[in-house]
């Protein structure tokens, strides 16, 4: 088998592995990591364990959904650009189709009083889930009295001024980059 046929086969495998994993992981990104590791590191031996951890690190430090980022870079490591496309397409397709189904269903039944009562109960829980992620992230970041000032200031500024979050993100990226460079320099000296 030539290099071409070999790559082609791997692309198909990547597509099927990532579409399977993404069909069966509810709850997004982090839940997918152990499943991807089992397939790619343990079963296939395409990537070694340490390299996989590095890829997770890169996937987490880039914008976008972590699960799809991870699929893209594992696919790339295994079979180049076409591998990246196969793996990420595999990861995107099942949720895409299930959301299309759910959306057409939801838009059709939205006006039913039973559905409305169901969602009446669901909504506070959704807000709670978002609040849970704020608490978890704060704990993971080891937020103390001094560092808490930054998120609190952001909450106040955004709520009062109504500024689009994308500007806050842009300023945040710039400020964090400057901070990181300054810190690194101080450590070096």
């Amino acid at each position: 088998m030539g290099m071409e046929g070999y790559r082609h086969g791997r692309c198909l495998e990547l597509f099927s592995i990532f579409s399977k994993i993404s069909t069966f992981t509810l709850g997004g990104g982090l839940a997918m990591i152990p499943l991807i590791e089992r397939e790619v590191v343990e079963r296939k031996g395409w990537v070694d364990g340490e390299e996989f951890l590095d890829l997770v690190g890169i996937a987490q430090s880039m914008p976008g959904a972590m699960a799809i980022n991870l699929s893209t870079c594992v696919g790339y490591k295994v079979a180049g650009v076409r591998g990246a496309m196969s793996a990420s397409l595999g990861a995107v397709l099942p949720p895409f189709l299930s959301i299309l189904l759910a959306a057409s269903f939801l838009l059709a039944v939205r006006d039913s009083p039973i559905v409305e009562r169901f969602f009446e109960g669901v909504r506070p829980a959704v807000v709670a889930l978002i609040a849970v992620s704020v608490l978890r992230l704060s704990r993971a970041a080891g937020i103390g009295k001094r560092t808490a000032a930054i998120p609190i200031a952001i909450v106040l500024v955004v709520l009062i001024s109504g500024i689009h979050p994308m500007y806050v993100v842009a300023i945040g990226i710039g400020a964090s980059a400057l901070w990181a460079i300054a810190r690194a320099r101080r450590v070096a000296i």
Binding site: C73, Y76, I99, A103, E120, A141, A153, P165, S176, A180
Partner: protein, 172 residues
């Protein structure tokens, strides 16, 4: 034309949602509002996105695109959310592989995580306002129970949402 607007909106969301998980929500909240998905409806589709497979942010993009411009809109929204980031990923894997353990990357995220926390908190507050949570004592009870179960007991979002929905059928 509307497809172009969708593409642009979700391109911004995809490229700026740094920090994982719910980091996409504050941006999506704003962009979805441009297409008329506001208040309660936004909260509802977050619930649907939680219960279907796949990353919440990508699911929300798909839903918004579908609602605004049908299946084609869904394709455009999803692709413009995912593709540019995927290209960035490839560049990152090629370029930065050597610098993966760079202390500066870690320091960067120490700072940037604080920004993400603030923005997600804003999203939660706006959602609470949109559903009139403060004036609804039943809602506050569900909120507090879900917060405790989710944070302290790490209950998975799906059973939490289903239980809250069942409770909604009983008490509303």
């Amino acid at each position: 034309m509307i497809l172009l607007e969708i593409a642009l909106a979700f391109l911004i969301v995809g490229l700026l949602s740094l920090g994982g998980g719910y980091a996409m929500i504050p941006l999506l909240q704003r962009e979805a509002a441009k297409f008329g998905i506001l208040g309660k409806e936004f909260v509802d589709i977050v619930a649907v996105a939680e219960m279907t497979p796949g990353p919440v942010g990508v699911n929300l993009s798909t839903y918004t695109g579908y609602k605004v411009a049908g299946a084609l809109g869904a394709i455009v929204a999803t692709a413009s959310n995912v593709a540019p980031t995927a290209i960035l990923m490839l560049i990152a894997v090629e370029l930065f592989y050597r610098f993966r353990a760079d202390a500066r990357v870690e320091e960067f995220f120490k700072g940037f995580r604080l920004v993400v926390i603030g923005l997600i908190a804003v999203a939660a507050i706006l959602m609470a306002e949109a559903i009139g949570l403060y004036a609804d004592y039943k809602g506050m009870a569900i909120f507090s129970a879900a917060l405790t179960l989710g944070y302290k007991y790490k209950v998975h979002p799906i059973p939490l949402i289903l239980a809250a929905g069942a409770l909604g059928l009983l008490i509303y």
